[in-house]
């Protein structure tokens, strides 16, 4: 009886979480007509037809490419810009340091839906509407405050002795960062990288606001548009598409689950 009180909720948790994936997976292996005629979880005649039809779509290919470019671009820019900023905040004392710390906290209160218009107008005025580079900048900005906080906390926790030892061992400041600080910060760097990648890969609202054509539109928007385009019937293609967008993140997350759980928690303030 008491064991049931633990296992029942756990079973419910797994069912609640995995259920929608399983049903989606099931539908994605069916033919459109089969969805109605064969509603069981395990398809009578499983087929990869839906996946081929998704992959063959030019819109999908272009959106996939855009997503890859923008997600990796954001990830790299976040690290390239975030690491020096976090290091400076952790190790330097300079006028305005506290102001900057506060400044980087404030945006965490700002919901993204609220940024759709202002950013749209900004992009139009800068001539950066429908531009992948502008989107990389935007997504980087969305995650930077959190990234800097995560890295800052991590850098501050690295004993100063290590840096001092590197200094007397003849390292320059840059040398100490490259040889000591960064290798020790790999868990934090990975967490930030994954969070940045996810941010850019999954973002929908801002893509909706900042893109016009297939040249810069990423997977979530493409998926959204296709749903309208395919009308009533093509559930297998929709689900195959949805699952394909999730796969890369699942692969990454399975690898770094233990960092991710901590990273998510440390993102609690957001």
């Amino acid at each position: 009886m008491r064991a049931a009180m633990v296992w029942l909720p756990l079973a419910a948790l797994v069912l609640w979480t995995v259920g929608p994936f399983l049903i989606s997976l099931s539908v994605s292996f069916k033919q459109p007509a089969q969805v109605f005629s064969d509603p069981g979880l395990i398809p009578a005649q499983p087929t990869l037809d839906a996946y081929f039809r998704v992959i063959e779509r030019p819109g999908f290919q272009q959106a996939l490419w855009n997503s890859v470019v923008i997600a990796f671009g954001s990830l790299i820019l976040t690290l390239v810009v975030g690491v020096p900023a976090a290091y400076a905040l952790a190790r330097f004392r300079f006028r305005g340091r506290h102001l900057l710390l506060l400044f980087s906290l404030l945006p965490m209160l700002v919901p993204k839906v609220g940024l759709m218009f202002p950013l749209f107008l900004l992009a139009v005025n800068l001539g950066a509407f429908d531009s992948r580079i502008f989107m990389i900048l935007v997504f980087t900005g969305m995650l930077l405050p959190l990234a800097v906080w995560l890295l800052l906390g991590f850098f501050e926790a690295i004993p100063r002795d290590l840096e001092e030892a590197a200094a007397v061992d003849g390292a320059t400041q840059m040398g100490a960062i490259i040889h000591i600080i960064l290798p020790l910060s790999i868990p934090a760097l990975l967490t930030v990288a994954v969070l940045a990648f996810r941010e850019a890969w999954n973002e929908f609202e801002l893509v909706l606001a900042l893109t016009m054509t297939g040249n810069s539109r990423t997977l979530p928007y493409e998926l959204f548009l296709m749903q309208d385009a395919t009308g009533i019937a093509d559930f297998p293609v929709q689900n195959a598409f949805a699952l394909l967008t999730i796969v890369p993140l699942i692969l990454v997350y399975l690898r770094i689950e233990r960092y991710a759980a901590e990273g998510l928690l440390s993102g609690a303030v957001k």
Partner: protein
């Protein structure tokens, strides 16, 4: 070469506290110099200023005659062993030791040779592929030493390198460091709060207190003629008994009276502190080494002993500590004695007692009245105002 000089060095922290005040020390090439003092006395800060880990607020620090105040640590050609060892956790022992050479862009073959050589000297050749987390405290300590010697720097700086080891290992490593330094003849600045370490290791010892250098001398000199009350109360285990007293001139010559007790000032002691003769009737601080007391009568001369009752007896094995009651006004030793080396006697007993270190045979009972004889030539005198030893 490796001469280090502090010239009027001052360190003022951002909050205004002065950690080091007008420090002047010259360290000769090849010398082993120990900086010792209680925590917060400025010894570590002084060392860190030599390393370039701390800016110098005033005065100059010179290495081989060159002012290095504005040099980055990299440009000073020094090596340092940290209290925490500061081994790089993501590198193997070999990589750790090779790091200074890598930063100096030494060729791979030369690097290997020198790491092997240093590893052999320290007997850690079998640990080269391990990571710091897989090592014991003593092994980590050796690796830290190895990383320091591998580069043959001008100066070794050691910041309490032994204080994270247990007592037994500490004694062993102490011997090894001493041996190693004598072999390499590299100028070494060594910081510790442990006066035993200081006395056993240093060619010369600099005792610091509140950022001020108290005395810089050889261990023998430091023990035989402490320059200040602080040094007298810091060096020795247990430290010197110090109390306020007055010099009296009687028929038998000079006597020092402290509380209800008195000791005659013998010729030998007077010869070392001649100005005492001019202090008749004045207050002074008198110091008596615990190990100079004994229960056996000496030459039987008058005024060579004190009578008092026993408060506490501590048996240490080869010797015993006998705490006897005194009504003399004690010198406030609170900031003189390092509590970490305290034998465990409460402040209260210590404040009203004098300690005698005696042979463990025929020990008295607590409460018993005893006669303690004091050796000739071992009395010490200090000015009660300035705290300086009398001339």
């Amino acid at each position: 070469m490796g001469e280090v000089a502090f010239r009027d060095v001052v360190k003022r922290f951002d909050d205004g506290t002065i950690a080091v005040n007008k420090l002047n020390i010259e360290v000769a090439d090849g010398e082993f110099l120990v900086l010792v003092g209680p925590s917060g006395c400025g010894k570590s800060t002084s060392l860190r200023m030599v390393a370039g880990l701390e800016e110098v607020s005033g005065g100059t620090i010179e290495i081989d005659g060159e002012v290095v105040n504005s040099f980055t640590p990299r440009d000073r050609d020094i090596a340092m062993v940290f209290q925490s060892y500061a081994l790089y956790p993501h590198m193997t022992v070999e990589k750790n030791m090779a790091f200074p050479l890598r930063m100096a862009k030494v060729s791979a073959a030369e690097k290997d040779r020198r790491v092997k050589e240093a590893a052999d000297i320290l007997d850690i050749g079998n640990l080269l592929n391990r990571y710091p987390r897989e090592l014991s405290g003593g092994q980590r300590q050796r690796v830290a030493m190895g990383r320091a010697i591998v580069r043959s720097p001008r100066v070794f700086l050691m910041d309490e390198p032994l204080s994270n080891l247990d007592a037994k290992l500490r004694v062993q490593m102490r011997g090894e460091i001493s041996h190693l330094q004598r072999e390499l003849r590299t100028t070494t600045l060594y910081v510790t709060h442990d006066q035993v370490e200081a006395m056993t290791l240093g060619d010369r010892v600099a005792v610091m207190h509140n950022g001020v250098l108290q005395q810089l001398a050889s261990p023998e000199k430091l023990y035989a003629s402490p320059g200040t009350v602080f040094v007298a109360g810091f060096i020795g285990s247990p430290p010197m008994n110090l109390c306020h007293g007055t010099v009296e001139k009687g028929e038998a010559g000079l006597t020092v009276r402290f509380g209800s007790m008195a000791l005659g000032i013998d010729e030998e002691s007077l010869a070392r502190y001649p100005s005492v003769s001019g202090r008749a009737g004045q207050d002074i601080i008198v110091g008596m080494r615990p190990e100079c007391f004994s229960f056996e009568a000496g030459d039987g001369a008058p005024g060579r002993s004190i009578r008092t009752s026993v408060d506490l007896v501590e048996m240490l094995g080869a010797e015993a500590l006998v705490y006897v009651r005194t009504d003399a006004r004690p010198v406030n030793t609170k900031d003189l004695v390092d509590t970490s080396s305290d034998v465990g006697v409460s402040e209260k007993v210590r404040a009203n007692a004098m300690v005698a270190r005696v042979s463990p045979k025929g020990l008295p009972q607590v409460g018993e009245t005893v006669e303690l004889h004091y050796e000739t030539g071992e009395l010490h005198f200090f000015d009660p105002v300035s705290g300086l030893a009398l001339s």
